[in-house]
């Protein structure tokens, strides 16, 4: 789960990380109180959306007067932000963060993430902060410094020291950076984070070190024991269908194509997306009916996909294993009745009683095409959606 910049900063501050004074607002009039409370010459106004690249999209503005802050907030609320990391329709700004703007002396990049290769965490840092780190990785790979922390181990002082020396810091600034790095790592492990990316980590006046921007993501599996993080979920950031899927414990991600998919298992879901693409189609979603593919879950998942107006045809690919295919087929026919199915539906079932299941689908009276193989199912659904156009 992702959270907003201001929420991440609130969490980091609890662990002793240095962050600028600031406050979030939802409406213009709230900004008036905040500017007088902040009482700073320069204030930075930042749209809070879960997407990188918002600066270039007009979501970050430096303001030099209080009137300018109010005017900017007024303009930014409700604004649509489209960046390479959002969908084409972009994201609406509902929350704006106002914080003290600093004169920056140096900018660094600092990130902690789970490393699948080692099973531990890896810290990535660079002297070249404040810019797109992927670009730095490409153009100056030798200026990216990686430190691998072994699984379940703490970040020790000598680790932090090594990182700050690599950033070229010394004296008081080095001490403060070291303290901040240790605190961010502590926050990472204590809060079950999956990634905390600080860009930039900045050196400002008086040798102070500040987290000026922060993106973070948390382990969904650990949210049950991280209530303060779980409560930070902003439902506006999610596609409504994704939210509903989450309520049914379905693993669903909305995509850009027009073929609705319903599959059991994450691997088979991806493999089904792949084969659709192989035959020239594009999936409208990723859907893993996680857990047992019971008739009830299959019906709930089917109705959800059906409601997506981008979906022009549906492919159901269930490897039932121990599930009885006739039960799944009956669940599907009932769901088809409920929605009044009029989009092409191709179904491939594998498992116990597969012939019975196929018979039920054939005789349903709905435009359902049962097929024997996944390959045929993919070819058919791509063809049927093309014909519909």
């Amino acid at each position: 789960m992702d959270i907003h910049e201001y929420q991440a900063k609130q969490l980091l501050a609890k662990y002793g990380v240095s962050i600028p004074p600031g406050e979030v607002v939802y409406q213009t009039h709230e900004a008036e109180n905040i500017v007088s409370w902040l009482n700073e010459e320069n204030i930075i106004v930042k749209a809070q959306v879960h997407a990188g690249g918002r600066g270039k999209a007009g979501g970050v503005k430096l303001c030099k007067t209080h009137q300018e802050v109010i005017k900017t907030v007024d303009k930014m609320i409700g604004m649509k932000i489209v960046t390479p990391q959002t969908s084409e329709t972009g994201k609406i700004v509902n929350r704006i963060y106002l914080e003290k703007a600093y004169k920056i002396k140096k900018e660094f990049y600092f990130c902690i993430t789970i490393d699948r290769e080692t099973g531990g965490n890896t810290i990535v840092s660079s002297k070249r902060g404040g810019v797109d780190i992927e670009e730095v990785a490409e153009k100056h790979p030798d200026e990216i410094f990686k430190m691998k922390i072994s699984p379940g181990s703490d970040l020790l002082t000598h680790h932090a020291r090594t990182i700050v020396y690599n950033l070229g810091l010394s004296g008081n600034a080095a001490k403060k950076a070291q303290k901040n790095i240790l605190a961010i790592y502590k926050a990472f492990t204590s809060l079950d984070a999956a990634m905390i990316e600080v860009n930039p980590l900045a050196l400002v006046a008086d040798d102070d070190i500040m987290v000026l921007d922060c993106k973070s993501s948390f382990d969904d599996n650990a949210l049950y024991r991280q209530r303060q993080v779980a409560e930070m979920k902003d439902e506006n950031e999610y596609d409504p269908l994704e939210l509903e899927a989450a309520r049914h414990d379905l693993n669903y991600v909305k995509l850009d194509g027009n073929i609705g998919l319903m599959v059991n298992g994450a691997g088979l879901s991806m493999a089904t997306m792949d084969i659709i693409k192989h035959y020239g189609g594009e999936a409208a979603n990723f859907m893993d009916v996680a857990g047992a593919a019971t008739p009830e879950r299959v019906a709930a998942a089917f109705k959800l996909i059906y409601r997506d107006s981008d979906v022009k045809g549906i492919l159901i690919n269930i490897f039932g294993g121990m599930m009885r295919c006739n039960d799944i087929a009956e669940g599907l026919v009932n769901a088809s009745k409920e929605v009044g199915l009029d989009k092409p539906l191709v179904v491939r079932l594998e498992g116990t009683n597969v012939e019975m299941g196929m018979e039920i689908l054939k005789n349903s009276g709905f435009p359902i095409k049962p097929v024997d193989t996944m390959e045929q199912a993919a070819k058919d659904v791509v063809e049927m959606v093309k014909e519909k156009k």
């Binding site: 990188g52 993430t113 699948r116 990535v124 992927e134």
Partner: protein, 291 residues
């Protein structure tokens, strides 16, 4: 002989009396698996499915001599259950549980350093040796005894592979699971199959994310002379949108090796027969075997 699960395996189920533990133990018993006991705290001394229940793994081991365990314990308690089996010095622990916090698994990884126990999973379908038995949830009826070793990150794709290699049959099917931090990896599973006299060919099913397939490819490349075995592979996720999960840093940490295409290329250049779709994995295996 097969790998991991053999005629000598004595198996217990942790989380035995729960819904999942019960259902899948019943299926395993139907499949003639040698289940000698179960563990559920507070239910020690009773019987479940006609099999003795113990309070702890240590007690189960003392009385039954078990050497392997299937873990069906709910996510918040699963890491602890794994470590209980590790401390009892079982040879094999297969953890089926999906949804264990990553930091819990990092802790397991730390505690298992230097241990003699092998962990398979978590978030995996388990291990099945046709004709011998199974730990986990792989449906027995789709597997046939034979000489192909299957190793897969995905459960359902290991089932697809079993169905498509029915003609050749399988020596053992190993689901290593899809979690970021897990036990047995591709290299270790490949090594088991390479050293198994009953395995003639290997199916490897990977996914986007991480670098385990790349390491597997490097290992296959290092095979020399007579100890080579034909490998067929599929990597799921070529059509998946980039960066939906961990964003930039994940990609940077793993230096761009994460895409399905990069993994397929690495496997191909190591001499693996790579299938473009999962539906051709059986064909690819036949081709790699020269049949």
């Amino acid at each position: 002989m097969a790998v991991l699960l053999t005629k000598e395996s004595k198996i217990i189920c942790q989380g035995f009396t729960g819904a999942q533990g019960t259902f899948h133990s019943e299926r395993a018993i139907e499949y003639n698996t040698n289940i000698v006991g179960g563990v559920t705290p507070e239910k020690g001394g009773t019987k479940h499915l006609d099999i003795p229940v113990f309070n702890t793994v240590a007690e189960a081991k003392k009385i039954t001599g078990c050497n392997a365990s299937g873990v069906f314990v709910p996510p918040p308690f699963a890491a602890d259950a794994i470590l209980e089996g590790v401390e009892a010095e079982l040879d094999l622990i297969v953890c089926i549980t999906d949804g264990i916090p990553t930091s819990d698994m990092q802790r397991v990884k730390r505690e298992m350093k230097g241990s003699k126990t092998r962990l398979v999973g978590p978030n995996c379908p388990g291990v099945l040796t046709p004709g011998i038995g199974k730990i986990g949830i792989i449906p027995g009826h789709i597997c046939r005894p034979g000489r192909i070793g299957v190793v897969s990150r995905s459960g359902t794709l290991s089932y697809e592979s079993a169905v498509q290699t029915a003609k050749l049959g399988q020596s053992t099917i190993i689901g290593i699971g899809g979690d970021p931090v897990n036990g047995t990896n591709f290299v270790e599973a490949l090594e088991l199959f390479l050293n198994d006299p009953d395995t003639d060919g290997i199916v490897l099913i990977g996914e986007i994310g991480g670098t385990a397939e790349i390491e597997g490819a490097e290992f296959i490349r290092s095979w020399k002379g007579n100890s080579k075995k034909p490998v067929a592979a599929f990597v799921a996720g070529a059509a998946a949108p980039k960066g939906r999960k961990l964003g930039h840093a994940g990609a940077i940490v793993n230096s761009g090796d994460e895409t399905a295409d990069a993994k397929k290329d690495a496997l191909r250049s190591a001499g693996v027969e790579v299938s473009d779709t999962i539906t051709r994995i059986g064909e690819s295996m036949m081709k790699a075997m020269g049949e």
